[in-house]
C-alpha cells in the first residue's frame, strides 16, 4: 500500500454514500433522501488494522464527465488524489447505472472496491445479485452493504486493501460464453454506448430479477406524484406542516419566551445596564421605558428576543418537519409534482424547499437556497421569497386581524411570486439548468438520522445566523441614532399615502416591520382604516422590506450567491418594483371595483 492512500466514496447521488461514510468513519453527517444534498465534501479518518487513512464523502456524480458543480467537485477529487482507493457505492436496486460508473472508473485505471448498498431494498424488490460472479467478472471486490444498519461495513473495511484496478477488455474476456455478443475489445476509451452494452452483458450474467408485487410504499409513492391524488395530499402535508409550526413555535414564543423576556430579562437589563441615556445604552438596551422586548429595540433586548425567542423556535419546528419530509422521500415527490410550475420562472421543483420553509420563517428559507445549482437560481429564489412569502408569524397575525381576506392575500402574493419570477428570470443573466429530479423510494424516516440532521442544522443556525441577526439590530439602531430612519419616514410618508391610498400613520408600522413583520401588522390594527385600506397595508407590509433577520441572512448568503451587492441590491430593486407595481395594481383593482 502506498503512503496512506485516500479512500474516496464515489457514486450516484442518493445511493447512501453519506450513510456509509458515517458507518465507516464513525462520523455523523446528514444523509438525505433526495439527490444533490452533498455539494460540499466531508473528510474524516478511517481506522484500519494498520493505522488510519483519510476517507472522503465525495459529492454524488452520474458520470465522470461533469455537468454541474457537484459533479465537477467529484471529478476533481479523483484527479487530485494520488492513487486513491475508490469505494464505488452502487444502489443495488438500480444496479445498471451504478455499474456504468464503476466501469468508467475502472477504465480510467483506478483501484476500486464496489459497495452494493441498499442490499435490503434490493432483496425486497426481487433483485438477486450473484455477488461472487459479479466480483469475478469485474475483477474487483464486491461487498453487499446496508449502510443504514451497518451491515457489511466491516467486510467493506477489510476488503479495502484488496482494491485493485481492472481493465474493461479483461471483463469482456471473462464474460461467460453466450452473453458477450459482439463486444470484443470495443469498449476501450470513452464510448458510452459500448460501455452500456458491457453493463448489460455484466448484468445479464450476474443479476436476476424476480417478479414481485409492488409494495404499499410503491403504490403510495405513485399516488403522491400523480396530480389528481398528489395535489390534495400536498395540501394536507403543507397544511400539517404549517399547523405544526404554529403550534410548536407559538408554544415556545408566546408561551415561554415572551413572558420570560418581557417580565424578567427586559426589566432586569434595563435596571442594571449602566449609562441610561448614553448611546451604548441605546444601542444595546434601547428604550429604557419599553415594556416589551419588541419595542425596546436594543441588541440585547429586541435582538436577542428575535433571534432566540422568535426565530429559534421557528427553526426548530420547521427543520424537524423538513427532516422528516426529506427522509421519508416525500420532499422529492413534492418537487416533482410542482416542477412544471417552477420551470416557468427558471427554477426547478426543489425550489419548493426554501419556499415551504419561508412560510414558517424566511431566515431558514434563505439559507436553504444553498442547495440550488446556480447563482441565478439562488438569487431568484432568495429575492422572491423574501419579498413575496409572508412568514408564519405574519400569517398568524393576518389570520387574527382579517381572517376573511387572508386566503385572498396569500393568493395575490403567490401570483406576485410567479409573475415577478418570470420577469426576473428574463432580466437576470445566468443559467438555470434542468435537473432530472430523481424520485427516491418512500421510506420510514429514521429517528437517529432525523435528530442528527436537526442538531446539525440548529447548531449551524446558532453559530452562523444568530450573530448576523444581532448585528442587524445594531445597525438599525445606528441608523436611528443617525436620524436616517426619521428622515426615511418623512420622505416616504407622502409617497406611500399618495400611491397606495393608505393613511400616513402606517409609516411607523412599516418601519417596525423591519424588526418583526407580524408586529407591524398588529400595529396596523390600531390605525382606523377602511377594510380595503387594511388589506392594502397588510399586503404592503408583507411585500415590503424583509425583517432584519432575513435581511441579515440575505447579506450572509449573498456572499456565496453571487456577491453581497448584487444579491442585496437586486433584492431591494425587486422589492421596490414589487411594492409599487404589485401594490399599485391592487389599489387600481380596488379603485376599479369601487372599494378603495
Amino acid at each position: 500500500m502506498a503512503q496512506s492512500p485516500t479512500v474516496l466514496l464515489m457514486g450516484h447521488p442518493n445511493v447512501g454514500k453519506s450513510a456509509l461514510f458515517n458507518r465507516l468513519a464513525g462520523a455523523s453527517i446528514s444523509e438525505s433522501n433526495y439527490a444533490g444534498t452533498t455539494v460540499e465534501y466531508t473528510e474524516s479518518q478511517l481506522a484500519l488494522d494498520d493505522g488510519t487513512v483519510p476517507v472522503v464523502d465525495v459529492p454524488g456524480t452520474f458520470s465522470l464527465e461533469p455537468t454541474d458543480r457537484a459533479e465537477a467537485v467529484a471529478v476533481e477529487f479523483l484527479e487530485d488524489a494520488s492513487d486513491p482507493i475508490v469505494v464505488c457505492v452502487v444502489d443495488a436496486t438500480r444496479i445498471e447505472r451504478g455499474l456504468n460508473l464503476v466501469l468508467e472508473l475502472l477504465d480510467r485505471g483506478h483501484r476500486a472496491v464496489v459497495a452494493l448498498n441498499m442490499w435490503d431494498e434490493a432483496r425486497q424488490q426481487g433483485v438477486d445479485v450473484d455477488v461472487e460472479a459479479l466480483s469475478d467478472l469485474l475483477g474487483v471486490p464486491v461487498v453487499p452493504t446496508v449502510a443504514t444498519e451497518g451491515v457489511g461495513v466491516d467486510d467493506l473495511r477489510s476488503t479495502l486493501d484488496r482494491a485493485r484496478p481492472s481493465s474493461l477488455s479483461g471483463i469482456i474476456d471473462r464474460l461467460p460464453p453466450g452473453v458477450d455478443g459482439d463486444l470484443e475489445g470495443s469498449v476501450e476509451g470513452d464510448d458510452p454506448a459500448a460501455r452500456w452494452e458491457l453493463v448489460d452483458a455484466v448484468v445479464e450474467s450476474a443479476v436476476t430479477y424476480r417478479e414481485t408485487a409492488p409494495s404499499l410504499a410503491d403504490h403510495l409513492g405513485r399516488l403522491t406524484v400523480a396530480p389528481k391524488t398528489g395535489l390534495p395530499f400536498a395540501v394536507a402535508v403543507l397544511y400539517g406542516m404549517w399547523a405544526f409550526f404554529t403550534a410548536v413555535a407559538g408554544f415556545f414564543t408566546d408561551g415561554y419566551f415572551v413572558p420570560l423576556f418581557d417580565d424578567h430579562w427586559l426589566p432586569w437589563i434595563q435596571s442594571v445596564f449602566p449609562g441610561e441615556g448614553g448611546w451604548l445604552y441605546f444601542l444595546l438596551v434601547g428604550d429604557p421605558a419599553a415594556t416589551n422586548s419588541f419595542e425596546a429595540f436594543g441588541v440585547l433586548t429586541s435582538g436577542l428576543f428575535v433571534a432566540v425567542g422568535v426565530v429559534l423556535p421557528a427553526i426548530l419546528a420547521l427543520y424537524l418537519v423538513l427532516a422528516l419530509l426529506e427522509d421519508s422521500g416525500y420532499m422529492a415527490r413534492l418537487a416533482v409534482l410542482l416542477d412544471a410550475a417552477f420551470h416557468r420562472i427558471g427554477l426547478h421543483g426543489y425550489a419548493i424547499v426554501p419556499m415551504v420553509l419561508s412560510f414558517g420563517c424566511n431566515v431558514p428559507g434563505v439559507a436553504a437556497t444553498r442547495t440550488l445549482e446556480t447563482d441565478k437560481q439562488r438569487f431568484l429564489t432568495m429575492t422572491l421569497l423574501s419579498v413575496f412569502i409572508p412568514c408564519g408569524a405574519q400569517l398568524g397575525v393576518m389570520l387574527s386581524l382579517i381572517p376573511q381576506y387572508t386566503g385572498y392575500i396569500l393568493l395575490y402574493l403567490l401570483a406576485g411570486f410567479f409573475v415577478f419570477g418570470a420577469i426576473i428570470n428574463r432580466l437576470v443573466p445566468g443559467s438555470s439548468p434542468e435537473v432530472a429530479v430523481d424520485i427516491p423510494p418512500l421510506r420510514r424516516p429514521r429517528p437517529s438520522n432525523v435528530s442528527t440532521k436537526l442538531s446539525l442544522r440548529i447548531r449551524g443556525f446558532m453559530t452562523s445566523a444568530v450573530p448576523f441577526v444581532l448585528a442587524g439590530v445594531g445597525v438599525v439602531n445606528l441608523l436611528y441614532l443617525g436620524g436616517v430612519v426619521d428622515w426615511l419616514a418623512t420622505v416616504l410618508g407622502p409617497v406611500l399615502s399618495g400611491w397606495f391610498g393608505v393613511p400616513s400613520e402606517t409609516v411607523p408600522a412599516l418601519i417596525a416591520g423591519f424588526m418583526r413583520k407580524d408586529l407591524a401588522i398588529a400595529q396596523l390594527s390600531a390605525i382606523p382604516m377602511t377594510p380595503f385600506q387594511t388589506v392594502m397595508s397588510v399586503v404592503m407590509v408583507s411585500i415590503y422590506f424583509p425583517c432584519v433577520a432575513t435581511f441579515a441572512m440575505l447579506i450572509k448568503e449573498g456572499r456565496t450567491g453571487g456577491g453581497v451587492l448584487r444579491v442585496v441590491g437586486g433584492a431591494l430593486a425587486t422589492l421596490v418594483a414589487a411594492l409599487f407595481l404589485w401594490g399599485g395594481l391592487l389599489r387600481l383593482g380596488g379603485t376599479l371595483l369601487g372599494v378603495a
Partner: protein, 147 residues
C-alpha cells in the same frame, strides 16, 4: 362485497360530507356550525377552507377505493393515503390545542392538568372524530414486510 369496501365506503361518505360542509363554511356560505345541533362536532377555525379541501379529497379517495374494490392493492394504497390525510389534519388540531393550553396564564409556567384536559375536550373537528376510524387502514400495511 368485502367488509372493508362497505366500511371505507361509509367512512368516505361521512368524511366527504364533513369536508364539503367545511369548504362551504370556509368560502363564507351562511351554513350554521353543526355544533348548534350536535354538541361534539364543530366545523370552524383557521384555514377552514383548506382543511375542508383535504377532508373532501380524503372522502373521495375512500369512496373511490371502496367502489373500485379494496381487494386491489392500488386501491388499498389510496385508502391508506386518505387516512394519512385525515390523521394529519386531526393531529395538527390536537397538537395545537395541547401546546396552546400547556403554558397556561401569565401566573404559572405549566397549566394545571384540569385546564389542559378541558382544552382537549369536545367539541372536536370532524377530522379528529374520523381519525380513529381511519386506523383500520393500517391493516393494509401489516400484511407486508416492513416497507
Amino acid at each position: 362485497m368485502r367488509f372493508d369496501d362497505a366500511y371505507f365506503g361509509l367512512l368516505g361518505v361521512a368524511v366527504g360530507l364533513a369536508g364539503l360542509l367545511a369548504v362551504a363554511r370556509g368560502v363564507g356560505l351562511a351554513i350554521p356550525d353543526p355544533q348548534s345541533t350536535l354538541a361534539v362536532v364543530s366545523v370552524s377555525g383557521t384555514f377552514l377552507l383548506w382543511r375542508g379541501i383535504v377532508l373532501l379529497s380524503a372522502g373521495v379517495f375512500y369512496f373511490q377505493g371502496a367502489t373500485e374494490g379494496l381487494a386491489n392493492p392500488a386501491m388499498q394504497a389510496r385508502v391508506f393515503m386518505a387516512s394519512v390525510m385525515v390523521w394529519i389534519v386531526a393531529g395538527a388540531d390536537l397538537l395545537g390545542r395541547l401546546l396552546g393550553a400547556v403554558p397556561g396564564d401569565s401566573e404559572v409556567w405549566v397549566a394545571g392538568s384540569g385546564e389542559v384536559l378541558a382544552a382537549m375536550g369536545p367539541p372536536y373537528s370532524p377530522a379528529v372524530l374520523a381519525a380513529p376510524f381511519a386506523l383500520a387502514a393500517l391493516a393494509y400495511r401489516s400484511r407486508e414486510g416492513s416497507p
